[in-house]
């Protein structure tokens, strides 16, 4: 009898799993119990081949492997390493004492190689929370595992090397890397993060952005739209949702893609949250374990509900909303998205997380993103503002935008209209554009002010303050509410809308460096809220 430990993931939550192996006299065979799925059931054959090809003896007796808690569904191939070590410990070829207190993660190749698995970061974090001080992971996953502080991370390229380390053999020790994890350990800003999505996220285009201005997209590229550039700055500073409306070719998509360039890099806690989600999704780039750039996620409008909020059979994967956590979710051609998808976004917009329920388990993914919508004024995309003749009937036009209104547009704090600009206007605007790095500094300063004000609360951004606390602790200055009260009397804005306008006015105050929003800020926030939807 021997026991090892591993971690089962449900979403980004890890649960410790005990792997017990018992070897009895009887016909040779391996029995795997404890709610394994198909991939895990196949572990039997993988593990046998891997053990034999690592030069170990396969116990020619009756082996029972139990995974407990038995009620928790266990999926995937991450238990291979734990099961193999458990069997060999039960057979007496690995000292039981060495196995104690170690969490094993990793898939086995038939040749005995240890292959990386998804979700190493959240699994290791769960192991640390459960009191383990040592984790053994496949070598490629070791930098990711080392992000969790207070652990010895053992990176092994093969099962043979891992077994050698457990036995304390000197020559095996050279193949295995052991590092103490913790703050600063192997943390490099992730600059190379670019593309990669699979499973339900396949339709999801992901791209990161480098903070530097050299060559990459820059806010200064957006010519002729000063109001829109300012709106992007406001949204970045306060975490407010943004809608961009206007005829094609005026720079809506360009602007959205440049929002990450003015967002500050993630702090360590946020970076770990984001990395954990991307680790489970399998979209983490190899070699740069910690994602410090705010993610930008732009799903195509044909994306399904599962691709946006998460789901999938077997292992539940996070969707675009979660992949954009602490970053920016951009819905281009927003009215073209299916009603289902747009409605499904309401939950994360309200609560900042997505809950995916499946038989026997629920997965929670954090999804606190800045929503950016882009839309043409009508399906023919010519629109009255462009000067070209629109071929849509008024009904068509109304129906097109009605898909956005109601559930979504009510939660969008800043609505800007893009106007077609003449060549002369483009040229004259050139002197007024600012590079992303300059705007990013203002955004960061404004975020710092907000963070200082909110330091005794769980929130960090103005957009996150709940309505009750907003009214109680963060009321604007005297007289500042007059424009809002008037708009409410006129029926132009709802009570929820007033809260949203007040949040934006706090962000404007942070950007302006004033202690409290005055009538200047509330007026402009009301302007931004009414935006194009208020016409």
């Amino acid at each position: 009898m021997a026991r090892t430990h591993s971690i089962a993931l449900v979403g980004v939550e890890g649960h410790p799993v005990e792997i017990e192996s018992d070897i009895e006299n009887g016909l040779p065979g391996l029995l795997l119990v404890g709610l394994p799925d198909t991939a895990l059931r196949e572990a039997r054959d993988r593990i046998r081949a891997a053990i034999i090809n690592s030069g170990e003896q396969w116990p020619q007796r009756r082996i029972t492997v139990g995974l407990s808690p038995a009620s928790l569904p266990k999926r995937g191939s991450g238990f291979d390493a734990g099961i193999a070590v458990s069997i060999l410990a039960a057979a007496g070829t690995v000292p039981v004492a060495a196995v104690e207190g170690v969490t094993f993660l990793g898939e086995l190749g038939l040749d005995g190689r240890l292959r990386p698995v998804r979700g190493v970061l959240p699994a290791v974090a769960a192991a640390a929370a459960a009191g383990f001080r040592k984790v053994a992971v496949p070598e490629p996953s070791a930098p990711e595992a080392a992000l969790v502080p207070g652990l010895a991370v053992v990176g092994a390229p093969t099962l043979g090397a891992l077994l050698g380390w457990l036995r304390g053999e000197r020559e095996a020790g050279q193949e295995v890397t052991v590092r103490m994890s913790g703050e600063g350990a192997d943390v490099r800003p992730n600059q190379t993060y670019r593309q990669g999505a699979a499973g339900p996220g396949a339709a999801v285009g992901l791209s990161g952005s480098s903070g530097e201005t050299g060559g990459g997209p820059d806010l200064a590229d957006i010519l002729g739209q000063p109001a829109a550039r300012r709106a992007a700055e406001i949204c970045a500073a306060g975490g407010h949702h943004l809608s961009l409306m206007g005829p094609p070719g005026t720079g809506k998509t360009m602007l959205a893609e440049r929002i990450p360039t003015i967002l500050p890099v993630l702090d360590r806690l946020a970076a770990l949250e984001v990395t954990a989600i991307h680790s489970v999704a399998g979209t983490l780039p190899a070699g740069s374990p910690l994602m410090t750039e705010p993610p930008f996620c732009a799903p195509h409008h044909t994306a399904t509900k599962a691709a946006i909020v998460g789901g999938g059979t077997g292992i539940i994967r996070p969707g675009a909303a979660s992949l954009a956590h602490r970053g920016c979710l951009f819905l281009d051609e927003a009215p073209e998205f299916s009603r289902d998808v747009l409605d499904a976004l309401r939950q994360p917009l309200e609560s900042g997380e997505v809950v995916v329920a499946r038989l026997g388990l629920t997965a929670r993914f954090q999804a606190r993103f800045t929503l950016v919508l882009a839309a043409n004024p009508c399906p023919c995309a010519k629109g009255p503002a462009s000067g070209a003749h629109c071929t849509c009937t008024p009904t068509e036009r109304r129906r097109y935008l009605a898909r956005l209104s109601g559930p979504l547009l009510d939660r969008v704090d800043v609505k800007v209209e893009f106007l077609p600009v003449s060549r002369a206007e483009l040229l004259s605007d050139r002197g007024f554009t600012e590079p992303s790095s300059v705007v990013a500094k203002r955004v960061e300063a404004a975020r710092d002010r907000a963070a200082t004000r909110l330091r005794h609360s769980p929130w960090r951004l103005n957009a996150e303050i709940p309505g009750r606390d907003l009214r109680r602790s963060f009321a604007p200055g005297p007289g500042a509410l007059a424009p809002l009260e008037r708009a409410m009397d006129l029926g132009e804005i709802s009570a929820r809308g007033v809260d949203r306008v007040i949040r934006v006015s706090w962000t404007l105050a942070d950007l302006a460096g004033v202690a409290r929003p005055t009538v200047d800020q509330t007026s402009y926030a009301l302007w931004l809220w009414l935006g194009v939807g208020g016409g």
Binding site: P226, S428, D429, P483, E492, L508, A512, S523, L530, G534
Partner: protein, 118 residues
């Protein structure tokens, strides 16, 4: 027609004088583009103020402020952005004000100034 236009122009002059007294800088008057006209463009501290002036000779057809409808204000917001682009100026904040003027029999104007209507 002429009388009506005269009344409007007189009213705008009254409004401009009032705004200057109130400490605003007048940047532009009767600025036109293809989408419409802005009566007064002014600046108060770092705020761009787009001002719509409505003058009436009586309140028989309702208060002048009532005439500033939602769509009118939406158009003003759009015009404001147009004005910014055309003049290449940047402002931290923007707002729309409405000045309503009613002329009484003695030829005096009653002025009402509403700040930040959108």
């Amino acid at each position: 027609m002429n009388a009506k236009n005269n009344l409007g122009r007189r009213g705008e002059q009254v409004a401009v004088e009032y705004l200057e007294r109130a400490g605003l800088r007048i940047l532009d008057r009767n600025w036109r583009c293809t989408e419409g006209e802005i009566d007064i463009v002014a600046a108060e501290r770092q705020v761009l103020v787009i001002c719509e002036v409505k003058t009436r000779s009586s309140t028989q057809y309702g208060s002048p402020l009532e005439a500033i409808t939602r769509s009118k204000r939406a158009r003003l917001r759009r015009l404001a952005v147009r004005w910014l682009v055309a003049h290449g100026v940047l402002f931290d904040e923007m707002r729309i004000d409405v000045i309503g003027l009613v002329r009484d029999e003695s030829g005096h104007y009653q002025l009402e100034h509403v700040r930040g209507v959108g």
